[in-house]
């Protein structure tokens, strides 16, 4: 295994940890807004790290570009959709969680 | 066990799960879901078994058949959902009147 392999391993594992944390958050957090928070964090950063881990292994610039494009699209979709879910929840009158 | 047969068995399982739900549940939306899951099971059997010979690219014919099947399934689902809406509009209930064989 070369340096690049170690680098991508570390990045992938780090991404995996973010996904795990996000999933735990999704399951354990008390209301829709905090769950959204956990989910988007995991998606954005976790997927970013996974993509970075794969980009260093990519065979060509085109492949690397496609990977980054996927990440950007997920960022865009994730952000807009969690906004839509959040505003939908507010419109239905779901209260914010207060301890 | 070979992974090909694992997926094929999962396909059989999905078919039977869907069949059970299709017969036992009354809600039409559930029946439509069940039909889609049954379809997924059949497609899985079709594609999984195409990869039986190891280290050779899988047989493309079942792949094409499954793509055909997926399009047919979405057509049927669209028609079924519309019909369900009409039934519930007419009867106020998304279930079929109880089956009595007269």
């Amino acid at each position: 295994m070369g340096l690049i392999d170690y680098l991508s391993t570390i990045l992938l594992i780090a991404g995996g940890i973010f996904f795990l944390a996000g999933t735990v958050g999704l399951l354990r957090f008390p209301d829709v807004y905090t769950r959204l928070h956990a989910l988007t964090k995991a998606d954005n950063v976790g997927l970013g790290l996974v993509v970075a881990g794969l980009v260093v292994q990519a065979e060509s610039w085109a492949a690397a570009g496609k990977l980054v494009l996927i990440w950007l699209l997920v960022l865009l979709a994730g952000a807009s959709i969690s906004y839509l879910i959040g505003s939908g929840a507010l419109q239905r009158g779901i209260r914010l969680w207060k301890k | 066990m070979n992974m090909v047969f694992l997926y094929a068995l999962v396909g059989v399982g999905l078919f039977c799960l869907g069949l059970h739900a299709l017969i036992m549940h009354a809600h039409l939306l559930r029946k439509i879901l069940a039909f889609n899951i049954m379809g997924g099971g059949v497609f899985l059997v079709l594609v999984a078994l195409a990869k039986r010979t190891e280290e050779v690219a899988p047989d493309p014919v079942p792949h094409a058949m499954v793509i055909t099947g997926i399009v047919v399934a979405v057509s049927a689902t669209a028609l079924a959902l519309k019909l369900m809406l009409k039934v519930s509009e007419e009867t106020g209930n998304a279930e079929l009147p109880d089956e009595r064989r007269e």
């Binding site: - | 029946k31 039909f35 059949v42 057509s75 079924a80 019909l83 009409k86 007419e90 009867t91 089956e99």
Partner: protein, 487 residues
């Protein structure tokens, strides 16, 4: 003439014509009636041309794309396919003429594209020699039939259509599962190649179970007939006619083909006896239920359940009598197609005339709608199986082989079924003469609709004299020889 037309691939035209016609109707709803009639007439002409082609040159085979099985798909037409295509074209033509008067806007412009696509599916189905292709045609046929059933709306029709849709989808999926197993077992979906390669191994039994169950559900064999009466009784009259006459027969046709060419040679006595038993049960149950109905269209629908039973009765008889029984069954099937479509069209006339189809409240129909009443009576003659009619020939041939085999339970059911059929037909005819307790404003029934029903009923009777023509046609290419693998 033969030189000019012998090269034309009439089979392919039979599929492309209604497809193109249906699309044209969708694009120009304003002239859909005209387009529909032109298409249906052209189909009838093409069937006649295909008949001469097959008679002169033997079975029709067309390798689509020039690839040939197993890679490509083949079209195939022997006497059996030809007869089914002919009956489809004939019933289709008359029903189309009926429909021009039956449907008013906006239903009319919705009806024609659906109906032509249904015809395309039927023609493609009867011509196909490829089981995956049969699956696609089955789905096209099923969706078209359901959409047509739900066409006029109303609670009964919609629930009936929904139940029909679920049943037909389930049947198709089971069939597809069987196709998947056969393909992976033997590496082809062509019927002829499968026929050469099948052996008695577990995968074949599983495929037989799945495809058999799916097709039995689709052809409404007792006790899987639950979806048929609500759908056929609540659909618009021309649609009911086509459903009972052609659509249920199509799945029976596939079952027969698979049995003759793939599964039959393996020796499946258990399945044959089971089909025979269920067929007998269907005849008795369907007839008794028909007798109990108070609504005319439900009565006719239950009569269809009973008549389908006769078709399945042939399986156990065919073990000994072979091709003769299958000729009888196909004869019965086409006579029933004519007679039953005539009955549903007549019921549609009565519904249009009185605004209801309650049998007891029919008001002196014989005097006021003599042609319709006559059509119903003539169709009834064929349904009961009285001479001279197509139904009589079919039943007589069946009875003959049951007698020679001394298969008494089938003999008894055949006679009982005819008696019960006579009872429910005469029950309806009896009320045709009487005056209703609450007379109503009659509405006029277009002449075209009355005579369309009459035409089909006469056809069912005429079939009684056509045996010398029909029987040899049916046997072109020896479709009924078990395991006679297509070249």
């Amino acid at each position: 003439m033969e030189i000019v037309f012998s090269d034309v691939p009439w089979g392919v035209i039979l599929i492309l014509l209604p497809l193109a016609g249906g699309m044209a109707c969708f694009l120009w709803p304003a002239i859909s009636k005209l387009l529909g009639l032109v298409t249906v007439s052209a189909i009838a002409v093409s069937v006649v041309a295909l008949f001469f082609q097959v008679r002169d040159a033997g079975v029709y085979r067309h390798t689509i794309g020039g690839w040939g099985a197993p890679l490509g798909i083949d079209l195939y037409a022997d006497g059996l396919s030809l007869l089914m295509l002919a009956i489809t074209a004939l019933v289709g033509l008359v029903v189309s003429i009926y429909s021009t008067s039956y449907f008013a806007e906006p239903l009319s412009s919705r009806y024609w594209p659906l109906w032509l696509l249904l015809l395309a599916a039927l023609n493609a189905l009867f011509l196909s020699a490829d089981i995956f292709n049969l699956y696609v045609t089955l789905e096209l046929m099923g969706l078209a039939a359901v959409a047509l059933t739900a066409l006029s709306g109303g609670g009964d029709a919609l629930s009936g259509a929904m139940r029909y849709l679920l049943a037909t989808l389930l049947g198709s999926l089971a069939f597809l599962f069987g196709v998947a197993l056969l393909y992976h077992g033997f590496g082809s979906v062509d019927i002829a190649i499968l026929g050469q390669r099948v052996e008695a191994i577990p995968i074949v039994w599983a495929a037989l179970g799945l495809m058999g169950a799916g097709l039995v559900l689709k052809s409404a064999l007792f006790p899987f007939h639950f979806w048929l009466p609500p759908a056929h009784a609540s659909a618009p009259a021309p649609v009911s006619a086509v459903l009972s006459a052609l659509v249920v027969k199509a799945s029976f046709y596939i079952l027969l083909r698979l049995y003759l060419d793939i599964f039959g040679p393996l020796g499946i006595e258990g399945v044959e006896s089971l089909f025979g038993l269920l067929g007998c049960a269907a005849v008795v149950w369907g007839s008794v239920q028909a007798l109990r109905q108070t609504r005319l269209k439900l009565l006719i629908a239950y009569s269809t359940v009973a008549q389908l039973g006769y078709l399945f009765m042939a399986f156990p008889l065919s073990i000994i009598s072979g091709p003769a029984v299958w000729s009888a069954v196909v004869y019965l099937a086409i006579s029933h197609a004519m007679a039953k479509s005539a009955m549903f069209l007549a019921a549609g006339n009565l519904l249009c005339f009185g605004g209801h189809d309650r049998i007891a409240d029919m008001d002196r129909v014989v005097q006021r709608l003599p042609v319709t009443a006559g059509a119903f009576a003539l169709a009834g003659v064929s349904i009961i199986g009285l001479p001279p009619s197509g139904g009589f020939i079919g039943k007589w041939l069946l009875l003959e082989s049951a007698l020679t085999q001394e298969n008494w339970y089938i003999v008894i059911v055949l006679i009982l079924g005819s008696l019960l059929a006579a009872a429910y037909i005469f029950k309806v005819l009896g009320y045709c003469f009487t005056k209703a307790a609450s007379p109503h404003e009659p509405r006029t029934v277009p002449v075209r609709m009355e005579w369309a029903a009459m035409l089909l009923a006469c056809g069912a009777i005429l079939l009684g004299f056509m045996a010398p023509v029909v029987l040899p046609t049916m046997n072109i290419g020896d479709p009924f020889i078990i395991g006679a693998v297509l070249p």
